[in-house]
Amino acid sequence: MVEWQRPTKLDDAIAALASDGAVALGGGTSTALLMKQGMLSPSRIVTLRQIDGLRGVRPTPDGGLAIGAATTLTELADAVRSAYPALAACAEGIGNVRIRNVATVGGALAHADPAQDLPPMLLALDARLVLAGPAGQRTIPLDGFFTGYMETALQPGELIVRVDLPAPAGRSTYLKFTPRSQDDYATVGVACRVDGAQAVVALAGVAMTPIRLSVSADPQSAAEAAAAAADPLDDLRGSADYKRAMTAVCVRRALSGLLR
């Protein structure tokens, strides 16, 4: 039977997570699904929402933002609406209001489902992650965090403390292509940030991990580069060829929209 721990200090959470079968719980929307499907049977659940300093969004001295890992998607959208409108719109396109009221930023990243919207958006914004674990605290770029299908660079017992964003630069957007139904996961998700002649394109749904590319801001060449980088699977959201073709279409549309 699963045992619950609700630490209020980060150090206590790290100690609680050191046990085999312990799972860190943000909002639990993904964890609950895995438990219901019998894919995850934690022996201990360590809840994070009540930990001092893990919730909320605050400005940093360099003009960026520090986003606590246990911040919900609703809280995120409200906090970034003026400074990072594309991030707010991306967050508000996830799931439905009930999911956004519960799901957390850190949970969305740790879950590392490549079809999720938030990872590519944060990749396009050059996010960095602050992680804490038994060996101490470290900061890493989000690019490189996703190591495989639902696999990350998190070490055993380590958790995400916060997401750091640099000051807003250029213009950004997120385009979610959902041909089946509006509330579906993206068949192809495209985050773009244009800064001068350069662009960053990050993709959801078209590989085992989110993909981040630095490209020229020319929509046609960026679209070709993105399609070449995509490595999609045939599944219920479409064939690999279809997803690759739609990757090019979505990147071209997203970038053209930003440059208009």
Partner: protein
């Protein structure tokens, strides 16, 4: 495990399995307004308020709710009976399976914005699925509740 809830305004202590979801705990308490539809947080039939925010009770482990205020469709019926009345008056339901969730979400929306426009109603209510009405009558019901 013992879980303390403020359930529709009354403090209760519930003995629950540690892997139980809020939905089954509520239904075991006789609060059967919330229903299991999809079981994966998509349909909205199990919508309840936790600390004032609408959530899918089918995806929330009861251990996450310890110390929280939970308001179910039954509670909304007490707090704001005019919303269910508006659904009835404006044919915002047919089979009724989704209706408790619709009413709880509508209550949360009207608390956030007492006079939401059509676009806000559509986006806020998008996660509450209805296979009968075609949604137009649900939107009319919410507008009527806002104006009544």
């Amino acid at each position: 495990m013992k879980v303390h809830l403020r359930l529709n305004g009354a403090g209760v202590e519930i003995d629950a399995r540690p892997d139980a979801f809020l939905l089954e705990v509520l239904r075991d308490q006789g609060l059967t307004g919330a229903k299991e539809g999809c079981g994966v947080g998509v349909c909205g039939a199990c919508t309840v308020l936790v600390d004032g925010a609408p959530v899918s009770s089918c995806l929330l482990l009861v251990g996450q709710c310890d110390g929280c205020a939970v308001v179910t469709a039954e509670g909304v019926g007490q707090l704001a009976p005019h919303i269910a009345a508006a659904f009835s008056d404006h044919e915002g339901l047919q089979c009724g399976i989704c209706t408790p969730g619709q009413v709880v979400s509508a209550y949360a929306l009207l608390r956030k914005n007492p006079h939401p426009g059509d676009a806000e109603i559509r986006s806020y209510m998008a996660g509450n699925l209805c296979r009968c009405t075609g949604y137009a009558s649900i939107r009319r019901s919410i507008e009527a509740a806002a104006n009544g």
